[in-house]
Amino acid sequence: MIEEKLKKQLDICMGCGYCRDAYGDEGWLEGLKTKHICPVREVLGFDTYTAKGRILLGRALYEGLMSYTPTAIDIFYQCTLCGNCEAHCISRGLPYVDPDVKVREIIKSFREIIDKGFLGVPEKIKNLPIRVSEYGNVFGDEAPISSTPYLKGNSDSETVYFSGCMVKFREGQIAEAVDKLANKLSLNIGVIDNELCCGSVLLRTGQVDRAEAIMSKNAEILNNLGIKTLITSCPGCFNTLKNEYPKHGLQLNFDIQHIIEYFSTNSQIKDLLSNSESKKVTYHDPCELGRLNNIYDPPRQLLQSIPNIQLIEPFRTRINSWCCGAGAGVQAGYPDLCKQIATDRFNELQSTKADFIVTACPNCQHSLGKVGKIFDIIEFLNKFLI
C-alpha cells in the first residue's frame, strides 16, 4: 500500500528543480520570496538533498536499481520536513492548493519502509521509540526539568495545557510563561498529570506502529479528561493532535488550539501590556505552525498588541520561512546539521537588527537558542505585562 502510493508520488515530479532555488522577490506564485529552498541542501551541498534529488534516489530505490546503503538512508532522514519545497513546488497548480508532489509524504514513506524493513534506521533515531515507550517522552528523561505542574490550574478546568516533550523536559520556562499570563488573565487552565509524548517525532521518522501505540494511549488519556479545549505551545504537538490523530483513526473529543490561537483571541491582553521604549522585534515562523497550518497573522497581531513595538520581517518569512533545522528527528539524529541550519537562520533573523527575536515553537527555540537569544512569544509578552 505504501509502495503503491509512493510510486505514484515519485512519478509525478517533473524534475523542474524549483525545489532547489527560487531566488528573489518574485517566485512563480505571488507571495513566494526566497533564495534557496532546502536548508539541508544549503549545508550539505549536493543537489541530491533537494526534493528532486531525493525523488530521483527514491525512484532508484523503488525500482531496485539502488540498495538502502547508509548514505541513502541518511538522505531520507536528513530532512526536517519543513515543507519549503512543497510550498515552492510548481505542482501546486491552480488554484493554489496543496502540491501534487507531496515531498513530505514521500520522505515519511521511505522512512517507514526503512523502519519496517529493518534496513538500518540511524541509531539516534532508533532510540526515540524506546525512550518514548519507556519514559513517555522523546528524551528518555525520568523527570521534567523542573517540578510539575507548571500550571496551577484546577483539575476540573475545561481547558488544559499540553506541554509536549520539549517544554516539559527542556524549555520549561515556556510553560511558566503560559502560567503567568493565564493567571494575569484569570484564565483557568489545567494540566495533564500523565501526559505522554504526542507521537509526532515517531510518526515523522517513519516509526508508525510505535507512534500509533503511544498516540492511542494518549488519546485515551486525553479523551477521559472531559475537557473542551486543549492548548499547546508546540506546533508539532498541535499539528499531530489536530491533523494526524484523525488520519490514524483516533478521534479526540475536544478542540485543539495552538497557544497563539488561544491567546490572540483574548481581547484583554492588550490592556495588560505596557512598554514605553520603542523596540524592534522580528518573528520566526515555525514550519508546522505556518506552512502546515497557515497560522501567520495571529502571532504578529499578538506582538503588535505590545505598545511601541515595531515588527520587522526577515527576508524569508511566512510561507517562505527558513527552517530552524530541528524538525522530524534531525535535531536528534544529526545535531551538527541542525546546528548549521539554525546558525544560518539565526544570522538571518539577527540581520534584521531587531532588538528581540521571537518564535512560537519550543523546538525552534531550543534549536535557534543554541546559537543566540530567542524568546518564546508568550515569554516575550510577559516581559511587558503591567
Binding site: K8, M14, C16, G17, A22, A60, T69, L94, D100
Partner: protein, 470 residues
C-alpha cells in the same frame, strides 16, 4: 573502478572532500534532467568553486581521458546536463554563481552557475534587465547551462528574442583546461564590453553546443532599463489566418513584450468557452508611463481590424510572473516530451493546421493515455517559436511512452516543415546528424575534434562519436 578511485583521490585535492562524491546514493541525484529520458548514473560528481578549479579538473580529466559532463540546473526537457552514456564526472557548477553589475558600462557579468532568476532579481533591484530574462525553469536553470542549450524565454521574446541576444562575451574553459574569453575580452587589456570584435565571434561557437566544446563559466550581458508598464490583451478570431496576420502586425510594432498564438483546441481544453474558430492570442505590451497610452491605442487599433471578440482569460493566467506567463494553459506539472523550434511567420497557419490534424488523427491514443496536447506559436523578433507537446498528467510508464511516441512522430512532420529546434539534447541528437546539412555537421565534427581531441566533454551528445566510428 581503479581509475575512478585514482581520479577521486586526485580531484578531491582540487575541490576538497566535501565537494566530491562517488557515493551512488549521491550520484542518483544527478542521474537525469527534467526530460523523460532514461536516467544514467555518473561515476562521480564534483562541485568546483572557481574557474581555476574547473580548469584543473579538465586538465586532469583530459590527461586521463575521463568523460566530463558540465551540469547546471538539469532542468532541460530534452536530455542535457547528465551523463548520456553513464559514467564520467558530473561537474555541478552551481557554486560558481556571482553577479557583478556595472551600471556605468551598461553590462552585467554573471558566473555560469548562477540561476536566471538570481540574475533577474539582482538586476530588478536596480530596475534593470538583460531583456529576455530566462526560461520557464529560471529558478533552477543556470546561465552557463542555458547558453549551452540555446535557452529560450517566453516573456519578452517578442521584443528581445532570446537571452543570448544581449550577450557580449563569455569565459569558457576548453576541454584541455585552457581558459579563454571572447569578444573584446580576448584582449587581455580589454573588458567584456562588445561581442563582435577581435576577429570571429567565438562566443557563438559555444552557444547551443550543449557543453560539448567547452564549459561556460562566465557571461557578460548588455543591460537596459526595465519597462514600467504592462498591458494585457486576449483577443480571439474567426480564422487562424486573421489571428496570424494580427499577430504579425502587432509584432512589427516592436513594443509587444510577449505574444503567444493558440489554436482553438487550447481554449477548449482550458475550459474557456469561445465561439471563435480561429483561436486567439495572449498579448503583453511593454511600455513606460510616457508612452503606454499611445501604445495602447495602436494595439487596440490593430486588434480591432481583425476581431471584436475577446475572451475572459482567468486572471491567474497572467499571475505567474515573468518566467511562466501562461502556466495555467501549459506546464503546471506532469511529464512530457516536447518539440520546439523556429519557423517563419508565413508558415504559422500551416503549422497550426498540421498540429491540429495530427491531434485529430491521434485522438484515440491521446484519450487512452489521458494526454493533454499543447500547441502554440510564440512570436519572437522576426519569426515564431512553435511548441508542440503531449502532457501526461496521469504519469504512468504507458502514458509517458505515448507522449514520447507522439512527440517523435510530430517532430518528423515538423522537421519536414522546416522547424529548427533550439534544444537538441539526447532527444534530438540523432536528428542533428540526420536532419541537418552534412557540411554543417562535418564542420561541427572538425571543430569538436580540434577542441576536444580525447572527446571527453559530454560524450553521446549529438551522437558524434557514433558517427565517427561508422
Amino acid at each position: 573502478m581503479t581509475q575512478t578511485m585514482d581520479a577521486y583521490n586526485s580531484l578531491k585535492e582540487i575541490v576538497g572532500n566535501e565537494n566530491i562524491s562517488i557515493d551512488p546514493a549521491i550520484l542518483w541525484g544527478y542521474s537525469i534532467d527534467s526530460s523523460i529520458q532514461e536516467p544514467k548514473l555518473p561515476d562521480m560528481v564534483i562541485r568546483p568553486n572557481s574557474v581555476q578549479e574547473v580548469s584543473n579538473i579538465l586538465k586532469y580529466a583530459n590527461n586521463e581521458k575521463i568523460p566530463v559532463i558540465p551540469s547546471g540546473g538539469r532542468s532541460s526537457i530534452s536530455g542535457a546536463g547528465y551523463s548520456l552514456k553513464g559514467g564520467g564526472i558530473i561537474l555541478d557548477l552551481t557554486r560558481i554563481n556571482n553577479v557583478f553589475i556595472y551600471e556605468d558600462e551598461a553590462n552585467v557579468e554573471v558566473e555560469g552557475g548562477c540561476t536566471f532568476s538570481k540574475l533577474a532579481y539582482k538586476l530588478k533591484q536596480k530596475n534593470l534587465t538583460i531583456g529576455s530574462p530566462g526560461p520557464f525553469s529560471a529558478f533552477s536553470a543556470t546561465i552557463g547551462g542555458g547558453l549551452s542549450v540555446n535557452t529560450y524565454a517566453m516573456y519578452g521574446a517578442n521584443i528581445y528574442g532570446v537571452p543570448a541576444e544581449s550577450l557580449l562575451s563569455i569565459e569558457v574553459v576548453l576541454p584541455t583546461g585552457q581558459i579563454i574569453n571572447t569578444g573584446s575580452a580576448a584582449n587581455p587589456k580589454g573588458k567584456p564590453i562588445f561581442r563582435y570584435c577581435n576577429g570571429p565571434d567565438l562566443a557563438g561557437l559555444f552557444l547551443g553546443s550543449h557543453g560539448t566544446l567547452g564549459i561556460i563559466t562566465k557571461a557578460t550581458f548588455r543591460i537596459r532599463k526595465r519597462h514600467q508598464e504592462e498591458l494585457y490583451y486576449d483577443p480571439v478570431f474567426d480564422t487562424v489566418e486573421k489571428c496570424t496576420q494580427c499577430a504579425i502586425e502587432l509584432t512589427n510594432t516592436r513594443f509587444i513584450g510577449t505574444l503567444i498564438q493558440f489554436p482553438p483546441i487550447i481554449y477548449k481544453q482550458s475550459g474557456l468557452d469561445i465561439r471563435a474558430k480561429g483561436g486567439g492570442m495572449l498579448v503583453e505590451v511593454f511600455g513606460d508611463p510616457e508612452n503606454i497610452e499611445h501604445r495602447k491605442n495602436i494595439v487596440e487599433s490593430i486588434i480591432s481590424k481583425f476581431t471584436d471578440m475577446t475572451v475572459d482569460t482567468p486572471a491567474p493566467l497572467f499571475n505567474a510572473r515573468e518566467f511562466s506567463i501562461y502556466r495555467h494553459m501549459c506546464c503546471v506539472n506532469g511529464r512530457w516530451a516536447e518539440f520546439c523550434g523556429f519557423l517563419p511567420f508565413e508558415k504559422v497557419s500551416e503549422y497550426i493546421k498540421i498540429a491540429e490534424d495530427f491531434i485529430e488523427k491521434n485522438k484515440d491514443l491521446i484519450n487512452r493515455a489521458s494526454l493533454f496536447p499543447q500547441i502554440g506559436a510564440i512570436y519572437t523578433l522576426n519569426c515564431v517559436n512553435t511548441y508542440t507537446l503531449f502532457m501526461a498528467y496521469d504519469v504512468t510508464p504507458e502514458n509517458i511512452e505515448a507522449s514520447s511516441s507522439l512527440n517523435k512522430d510530430i517532430a518528423d512532420i515538423l522537421f519536414n516543415l522546416g522547424v529548427s529546434p533550439y534544444w537538441i539534447g539526447k532527444q534530438y541528437s540523432n536528428a542533428f546528424n540526420t536532419r541537418l546539412s552534412p557540411n554543417y555537421v562535418n564542420l561541427y565534427q572538425m571543430i569538436k575534434d580540434l577542441l576536444d581531441p580525447n572527446a571527453i566533454l559530454n560524450p553521446g551528445m549529438f551522437e558524434l562519436e557514433e558517427e565517427k566510428k561508422q
